[in-house]
Amino acid sequence: MQKIATRLEPWLYSAPVLILIVAIMLVPLALGVSYAFRDIRLLNPFSGAFVGFKHFRELAGDGAFRGALVNTLWWTFSSVILQFLFGLILALLLNRPFKGRALAQALCFLPWAVPSFLSGLDWAWMFNPVVGPIPHWLYALGILSEPSNILSDPETAMWGPIVANVWWGIPFFAITMLAALQAIPKDLYEAAEIDGAGPIERFRSITVPFLAPTMAISILLRTVWIANFADLIIVMTNGGPADRTQIVASYIFTQAFRRLDFGYASAIALVLLVLLLAYSMLIVVLRQTMLTRH
């Protein structure tokens, strides 16, 4: 009896947290996963039966899903890379002292505070030749042959949400990179300057190694986040024209809330979950090997 009590003691202490975790995280997750194997359509009151792997078989033959996968890759990586590059440049600019830096910092971080739906609407209007200036500028620069809406051209539509996403997400990288930059001791740059390193060499041999861990982790987080992030696409193009901007996340949204097929949507979500988990594991392993090598 005494033995059981001692065994149980730690579990009793952690019980409140465990119960919270199970109730808040695991139950909904299990429920969502279970939907993937059931026929759940809101418009059909007789649905709800267990259907096994039917959804996944269907998914394997679903051309729209495959298109969405390719679009997701395209959307995620171009958004992340551009956000990262511009964010890093912005952080480097904001890291050197100049007059009015505090104000500039606040302004640069403003897009982050704009609700994603609002920024989606904003950009959609800016790309609209009737009310927005961008098509006219692109036409004037000779990039467009006529001031048309790039969102309605299947060839260019994806660039609309990507541009909006880059604008919206730069501050995330700028903030994290700036924090990491400010943690680099100034002495190191001075020592390198005396040692004879020019600006590029100092960037290469001090800034980059110091930022690398932050870069890796923020790019990982951001990739997962953006792959799941359908707000801008829903608002700006709704997956169109001709599914050319449909990503997996927006496809889930369409299946669940337009066709009201929760079973099929859950199946897609499960596939996306597995893909992102695999990606995360890959990065974690990569990071570990990098860390142990040092």
């Binding site: 001075e190 004879g196 190694p209 110091f210």
Partner: protein, 355 residues
């Protein structure tokens, strides 16, 4: 190797003056220590020699070359930082060879230079380690190694021992001195620690408030401080100061006691002066004698080698440094005498030394 000439150097940060009209020449091979309290401008002066701070006005020359506008890397100087500023992702060997690689030195020459420096500093077994895996003293050595591999014209040290514990600091201090003896390079060393200044320097530059207070060899500063600041800053335990006025050929302190004016010192009647006497120049005497004072022991601090005895006298806390153990107990009355030949008399208005 080179001489450094600093001429009428002034530095302001915005409107805040930091250095005011500094003149100093450092001879070839000399070890000069800039010493002073925080904010006295000593580090700024060093960083101006290194080229890490702009020069507001004046001129700095290395040998006969004006270097005001010369980039740090072209001044041919090496600097050791307080934080050591080692590159954390490079090994010890890479840290030391970085500057040589950037200067496109031949590979064999680099290997030789690193071997020689590592031998001198006892770094041989550590060459493949990263700074993270080194102790404070070892990092300090690597920072020095990084400076000496280049054979620069001058070494600049910015409080290099401040981050070490007392024991290690003592050891590294001796090592720096030995290293300077063997290399003989011109060195400028910044510290706030007057013991480091005394032990290392060929010449000390005492600074306060952006102004050079006194330049001289360590014992000169100790024996004949030019003003109240230097007198109070150099020496540990610090000098005692007693305020008084000159009356009828003697100095009358504020509580009415009298101190004889030393020979060769001329004071005007009524002149406000501060008398300085080092704790080791105050003697405990057996009984009342001519010029002795009666006092009561306030506090006793044994330091092992000697003892610091605090007494209330002449209206203030007066320290006595004695090598005699058990010379005093708290509350005990005793008689003390000042060493008349070793009094320092300062004008209270100008704070300058009178004699």
């Amino acid at each position: 190797m080179a001489s450094i000439t600093i001429q009428s150097i002034t530095k302001t940060f915005g409107t805040v003056p930091v250095l005011n009209d500094i003149d100093l020449s450092i001879a070839d091979g000399e070890f000069v220590v800039l010493v002073g309290p925080s904010g006295c401008g000593k580090s700024t002066l060093l960083r101006m020699i290194a080229g890490l701070e702009d020069i507001t006005a004046g001129e700095i020359r290395i040998d006969d070359r004006r270097i005001n506008e010369v980039a740090p890397k072209d001044r041919d100087i090496a600097m050791v930082f307080q934080s050591y500023a080692l590159y954390p992702h490079m090994t010890v060997a890479d840290n030391m060879s970085y500057s040589l690689k950037l200067r496109k030195t031949a590979r064999e020459k680099i290997t030789d230079a690193i071997g020689a420096a590592a031998g001198k500093l006892g770094l041989d077994p550590l060459l493949e380690r990263r700074p993270k895996a080194l102790s404070g003293g070892q990092r300090q050595r690597v920072a020095m190694g990084r400076a000496i591999v280049r054979h620069p014209k001058a070494f600049l040290f910015d409080e290099p021992l401040s981050n070490l514990d007392a024991r290690l600091r003592e050891q590294m201090r001796a090592e720096i001195k030995r290293l300077h003896k063997s290399i003989g390079a011109t060195s400028v060393y910044v510290t706030h620690d007057q013991i480091e200044a005394m032990t290392l320097a060929d010449r000390i530059v005492a600074m306060h408030g952006g102004i050079i207070q006194q330049v001289g060899n360590p014992l000169d500063l100790y024996d004949r401080p030019a003003n109240l600041f230097v007198a109070g800053f150099i020496g540990s335990p610090a000098m005692n100061f007693v305020e008084g006025h000159c009356r009828a050929g003697a100095i009358e302190t504020d509580d009415g006691s009298k101190i004889a004016v030393p020979d060769g010192v001329h004071l005007k009647d009524g002149q406000a002066v501060t008398v300085g006497v080092r704790p080791e120049h105050v003697r405990i005497v057996a009984g009342p004698e001519a010029g002795s004072y009666a006092a009561r022991v306030d506090l006793v601090e044994p330091t092992g080698f000697g003892t610091i005895v605090h007494v209330r006298l002449l209206g203030q806390d007066l320290k006595i440094y004695t090598l005699e153990r058990g010379a005093a107990e708290v509350g005990q009355p005793l008689h003390i005498a000042l060493d008349g030949a070793r009094l320092h008399i300062f004008d209270r208005e100008t704070t300058n030394r009178i004699g």
